[in-house]
Symmetry: C2
Subunit: 165 residues, 2 copies
């Protein structure tokens, strides 16, 4: 899968193209000043959905617990265009499997997307990623995030999150 391949580059910094530095400058100019830590209160936001990627060979391996702030949740449920300031968080834990029961292990990383129309190179979303300590991870927002959101979630405003009742 193209999307998986793109994501895998998070884990292979050597592959990140030199374009990265230019993009970081762009992101800074575009007002992506949020990228210093995950949103402090996201665990109290509405839970949109949880998915387990059990296959250890899949770079998305993990328990994915997804949260939406009020603005993001409103659009997620009712449709329409996301407003600037809408935020989705994908909190990823390792997977602990026991007799066919998949539960979250230790925290692996926190993925964040923040709606900001000025981030034109990435569909109007600022992508962020943090390690378990909340320290920013280095990645290429176009290759490692947006290309997959573009190919797989164009019809939903580049958002993969769903609201599961």
């Amino acid at each position: 899968m193209k999307s998986i391949t793109g994501f895998a580059r998070w884990f292979v910094p050597a592959l990140v193209p030199s374009l990265l530095s230019i993009l970081f400058v762009f992101a800074a100019v575009a007002g992506a000043a949020e990228g210093t830590a995950p949103p402090k209160d996201f665990r109290s936001w509405a839970h949109s959905k949880s998915t387990v990627v059990a296959d250890k060979g899949n770079p998305l391996h993990g328990v994915h617990n997804q949260y939406a702030n009020k603005s993001a949740l409103r659009t997620l449920r009712k449709g329409g265009e996301y407003k600037d300031g809408a935020i989705f968080v994908d909190s990823v834990n390792t997977v602990v499997e026991t007799n066919g029961i998949y539960a979250p292990g230790p925290k692996a990383k926190t993925l964040v997307m923040i709606k900001d129309r000025k981030a034109k190179a990435t569909g109007g979303w600022v992508f962020e990623a943090y390690d378990p300590a909340g320290k920013p991870l280095k990645f290429d927002p176009v290759k490692d995030c947006f290309e997959c959101h573009l190919s797989g979630a164009k019809e939903s405003g580049f958002v993969f999150h769903k609201y599961a009742e």
Copy 2:
């Protein structure tokens, strides 16, 4: 597992002992008047944890998304005794598996436990269960719920929920 066996009886009403009617009367006397519908707003409560029971032979088969109201969350995180009115919800969906990715399918049932010290036969918790339409399901709160909570979660106030960061 004893706990699984107990739970299985939900699906085999013929096995529910005649004790059930007595217990329902007890529950009513004990003030368990809540048992008419799931809490309306639980999807906006704090999400405590999600677990996937993938094995179709397991009566607990499903994607379990668990939520805690404010009172329940406070004790879950900080410890101590649960206060009357603390509520946990386990929202269960069917499991849809695609290439080792486990996602929630249609809603299966909603399980609720409400702290009420007067419910002495079930450890001070009122157990409730609802079908996807929100209609109460018939079950034996002692055999089908409390016996497992007693054997497996005595040290945590009969609560299996965990708060996963």
